[in-house]
Structures are given as C-alpha cells and as structure tokens.
C-alpha cells in the first residue's frame, strides 16, 4: 500500500512544477538550478549525518568520487551513459564508505569532523600529485548519452536539468521516508543519547554505518550530476573548503525538513551569483556573518542538531 503523506505530495508537485519551468526559464537560470540541486544532494548527505549528531567536514570526499567517476569513466572506461556513470560513482563511493566507515563510526564530535576532513584531504592530495588522475587540472567530461540518445548544446543542458530534477525529486521522496522511518528515528536517538540506544539493545555503530553509506551514495550522485552539468571535474571538489560549503548550506537550511537543503542550496547559489559580481572579495565574509547570525539568532530552528536542542517533534 502506498499512501502519500503531505510532504510527499508537495515534493511531487514541486518536481512537476520544476520540470515545466525548465522549458520556460532562461538557460542561465536552469543551469544555476541544476548545480544547486546537485549540490543539495551532497548537503543531504551532510544533513542525515547531522541528524545523528555528526558533522562531516569531509563530505567533499564522496562529492569528488562521484564527479571523478563521471570524468574518468568517460576518459578511461569509455562509459558515456549517464545512468551508468552515476551508478559507477555511487558504487565507488559506497565501496569506499564501506571501508572507511568501519573507522569513521568509532568517532564522534570534533574527532568525526577532523577525521572526515583528513580523509577528504587524502583524496585531494592523491589527485593533485598524480598526473594519471589529472593532477590539478582535472578532467573534461566527455559528452554523455542518455540511454543511447546524445543531446547536443542547449538540448543537452536541458536534458541534464530534467535528469537532475527527477533524480533529486526521487531521492527527496526516499529521504523523507528515511527520516521518518524507524532507522531515521534511531539516528536522532543516537544524537540525543547514544548510551541509551545501546541499552535498548541496538548497535549505534551499525546504525551510523548504514547512515554513513547512505550519505556517501547520495553525495556521490550530487557529485556526478555536478560533473555532468559543468562538464569538468577538478581536485577542488575534495578540498576541505568545498566540504565547509556543504556544512554551511546544511546549517542554513536546517535539518528538520527534507526540502530545507534544496531551498538553502538555491538561495546560496543565487546570492553567490550576485555577490561575486558586486563584491568579489566579500563573498566569504558574507557567508561568515550569515553563519554567525544563524548560530546566534536561530539556534533552535536551524541549529537544532549539534547543540542537541530541538524543538518538539511535530
């Protein structure tokens, strides 16, 4: 039996509206939206970990893996189908997460943050110093195909937009279910009181591990879509400041609703577009002040998670 709750109805409606809008909006705007939604998927990976009380300063690791799978899959493996490329990214990311997750799930608080940061910097370091991995230049993404169809120019951009909206919509539905599921509830419980979770007969580590893999997979999808949209990948994707940006967007939107990261990512992208034009050397400063403002003035709303201060669950 599949009954839709209110959130799911809204998500479906938003997906349909965005798809229609894609054919009407100017192409610069659909491009910004494509990138924002792709980025929002990475942020979702940060958010579901925040809901369990963990702040990842290294989600760029999986973002980068997803992107490089697209770049290298085309260059070395002669894979050009978007679904195969995205699938490749997810597979590699989840595979990597399955190994390092064994380590990561032992850490909490600042140690989790630091170790996640260090691991993404390892990938950065490996890529930058290896010419076979494109070094600092990265890769150009080969023209992708969609189940045999090879769109060109404007058509290709629109196709990627449609693809991104559909994937983001589908994943949002899945994430919404996940957040409201038994496992999602236990993740929040771990943030609140991990020892009690253990004393209810559950393994916090197993639950955080599952969550970690899920987050890695979603973030890799975001990386793959970003690569397809921009046509280029470079090691900056794994640099820690990229991960910092994901944390920023996660906090901007808050962790209570599945739509929040999407809204926050779009807001972020639009403000950035103008800010970079008007005051190129003040963009980060604006981010910094906004971040402080969120923490100081909206601690319960947006910052519910890490401080452990949540509003009553509705």
């Amino acid at each position: 039996m599949l009954r839709l709750d209110k959130t799911e109805t809204w998500l479906l409606a938003a997906t349909v509206i965005l798809l229609t809008a894609g054919f009407l909006l100017p192409s610069w705007l659909t491009f910004i939206l494509t990138l924002a939604f792709a980025k929002a998927l990475v942020v979702q990976g940060v958010v579901i970990q925040m809901r369990a009380g963990l702040v990842s300063f290294g989600q760029g690791l999986f973002f980068c893996i997803g992107g490089y799978a697209v770049g290298m899959g085309g260059a070395f493996l002669d894979v050009h189908d978007v679904f195969a490329l995205i699938g490749l990214g997810v597979a590699v990311a989840v595979g990597v997460a399955a190994i390092i997750g064994l380590l990561m799930t032992r850490y909490r608080d600042i140690f989790f943050a630091m170790l996640s940061l260090a691991l993404s910097m390892i990938l950065f370091g490996v890529i930058v110093k290896n010419p076979t991995l494109g070094s600092t230049d990265g890769f150009n993404v080969h023209a992708p195909t969609l189940l045999g169809w090879a769109p060109q120019g404007q058509e290709q951009k629109l196709a990627i937009f449609v693809l991104t909206v559909l994937i983001a919509g589908g994943l949002a539905l899945a994430l919404n279910r996940y957040m409201k599921s038994g496992l999602g509830g236990v993740n929040e419980a771990i943030k609140e009181n991990e020892i009690r979770v253990e004393f209810l007969g559950l393994s916090p580590r197993w639950i955080l591990y599952a969550n970690y893999l899920f987050a890695a997979g979603i973030s890799a999808v975001g990386g793959a879509l970003t690569a397809l949209a921009t046509g280029h990948v470079d090691p900056e994707m794994a640099f820690w400041t990229t991960s910092g940006e994901f944390v920023f967007i996660a906090l901007l939107g808050g962790t209570t609703h599945v739509a929040a990261p999407f809204v926050a990512a779009v807001l972020f992208a639009l403000v950035r577009t103008y800010a970079l034009e008007l005051a190129p050397h003040s963009w980060q400063m604006i981010l910094g002040f906004v971040l402080l403002a969120i923490i100081i003035f909206l601690p319960k709303g947006l910052w519910s998670l890490v401080a452990g201060k949540r509003r009553a669950a509705a």
């Binding site: 279910r177 599921s181 020892i195 009690r196 253990e198 004393f199 209810l200 393994s203 949540r310 669950a313």
Partner: protein, 262 residues
C-alpha cells in the same frame, strides 16, 4: 527448587587503588525481588554496570540463566533478556515521551530497524499508548522529555527498560530525585508492571522505607563487599549494617521497623 537467573562468582573490579567490587558471589533466583543497599561508593552501581556489560570486571564470572555473559556488549545482554534503568533517567531529552517509547518499541522488534517503514506506525502508537496508560504518564505523551518532571522521567526510563520483555530487570535507584509524595506511587506502578510481566527484579535503593516495603531479600554493600545478605528484617538488624550502612550514609531514610525500635 528454585533456579538461579543471575549468578556472579568471585567478581572483582578496581579503579586504580580503589576497589569497587571484591569477590562478589551473588545468586538471584527467578521471581525474587532483591534490594541492594549501601552508602555512596559502596559499589552498588559498579555491580549493575558490570552485570549489564558497561564495565568489564577485573576478574570473575557472571552467569545469566546459566550462560556466561562476561565480555558481552550491553546490547547483547539486553537482547538476551536482562535490562536496566538508570540512576539519572537516560532518555532522549529533545524528543517527546511518545517518541521515546516508539524508539524503544522499534528497538524491541529487532537489531536492524527498517530503512523505510515509518517510525510512527499505527500499531506502535497503540502499544505506546497502552504503556503510557499502564505507567500513568499519559498526560506527558506529547511533551518533550527535557521538560517532564523527574518522577515521570524515571517511570518512562523504567517503561523503556520493560518494553524489551526482559526476564530480569535491574533498577538503579528508581526513587532518587523523586519527591517524597511521588516515590510510593512510582514504586507501586513499577512493581505492578513487574509482577504482571513476571520479571525478576534487583534494585539499588537509598531509601530504606522503599526497600523494606517492596523487597523479599536485601544485599548490603560496603566498600565493594557484601556484608549482609538475607531477609530485610534480618539484614536491617545486623549490627554491621546498622553501623556501616544505615547509620553511616547521608540521605538515608531509616527503615520504619528500626525507627519504632529506637
């Protein structure tokens, strides 16, 4: 002939130079209600922590229903049928009482919660409402735990320990932090639930009135050792217990029988 549900043999534990448990040999039979008394630092909580796998003993053996559980994780021991409550209620403070119970119900269903099955299923909510009713905390159903009074929090804590249908329950000071008016109703509620589920109980308690009223047997701890073990009246009459436990501890409530005798 009764059977032992919990047995410890030569259990020791020290923290540096401090001995918190010395050669503890305890045998609890199925169906007993055992009270553990002793002043602060006597090793009562250490005993519970070792039995539930939170602290490894330095040496010794712990048998639950005849099987050794030393070295097992708390979650394994909980799943095998022995649960506990905590001196300071261990709940999920920013979730509602209902959600706290729902999480416990999810946990009771198995070690691998479902990815997509909703937490707030109709069946679970029905069960949670029954439990809220049984423990008399219905009015806090949708209140965030952080703002719920201490006594109700203790009840929720114990209710969550019982959700897993344990055969043995360990209560760490169920009435500490609870007001004088609340403590008997709280214990009546807990003991009614325990009897209904046929659970063997061991509880640590400072309040001798509570111990006297609810237990069938008392263990008196002093500096990591058991100095007296037996029927409540006999233990309370023991001169060492009077000197080292009842007369010594701060915040102890003297048993009614002793007060009248004095």
């Amino acid at each position: 002939m009764s059977t032992a549900i919990l047995e410890t043999r030569g259990l020791n534990r020290s923290f540096g130079a401090v001995t918190a448990a010395r050669d503890l040999n305890v045998r609890i039979d199925t169906g007993e209600v055992v009270g553990v008394i002793g002043s602060n630092g006597a090793g009562k909580t250490t005993f519970i922590n070792m039995v539930t796998g939170y602290l490894p003993p330095s040496s010794g053996e712990i048998l639950f229903e005849g099987r050794s559980i030393v070295g097992q994780k708390p979650r394994q021991i909980i799943r095998s049928g022995m649960t506990r409550s905590f001196q300071v209620a261990q709940l999920f403070p920013e979730l509602t009482v209902l959600d706290n119970l729902l999480i416990a119900l999810v946990a009771a269903e198995g070690p691998r919660p479902s990815f997509f099955g909703g937490l707030r299923s109709r069946e679970r909510i029905r069960r949670a409402d029954e439990i809220l009713d049984e423990f008399g905390v219905v009015r806090y159903r949708d209140t965030v735990v952080r703002t719920v009074p201490q006594g109700a929090r203790k009840l929720v804590d114990i209710a969550m320990a019982l959700i897993g249908k344990p055969r043995m329950l360990l209560l760490d000071e169920p009435t500490s932090g609870v007001s004088v008016e609340e403590k008997f109703p709280l214990m009546d509620t807990v003991m009614a639930a325990v009897r209904q589920h046929g659970v063997t109980v061991l509880f640590v308690e400072h309040d001798m009135e509570i111990v006297e009223r609810y237990v069938s047997r008392v263990l008196a701890f002093y500096s990591g050792e058991i100095i007296s073990d037996g029927q409540p009246a006999a233990v309370f009459a023991d001169s060492r217990v009077q000197e080292l436990v009842i007369g010594h501890g701060h915040g102890h409530v003297t048993p009614a029988s002793q007060r009248s005798a004095a």
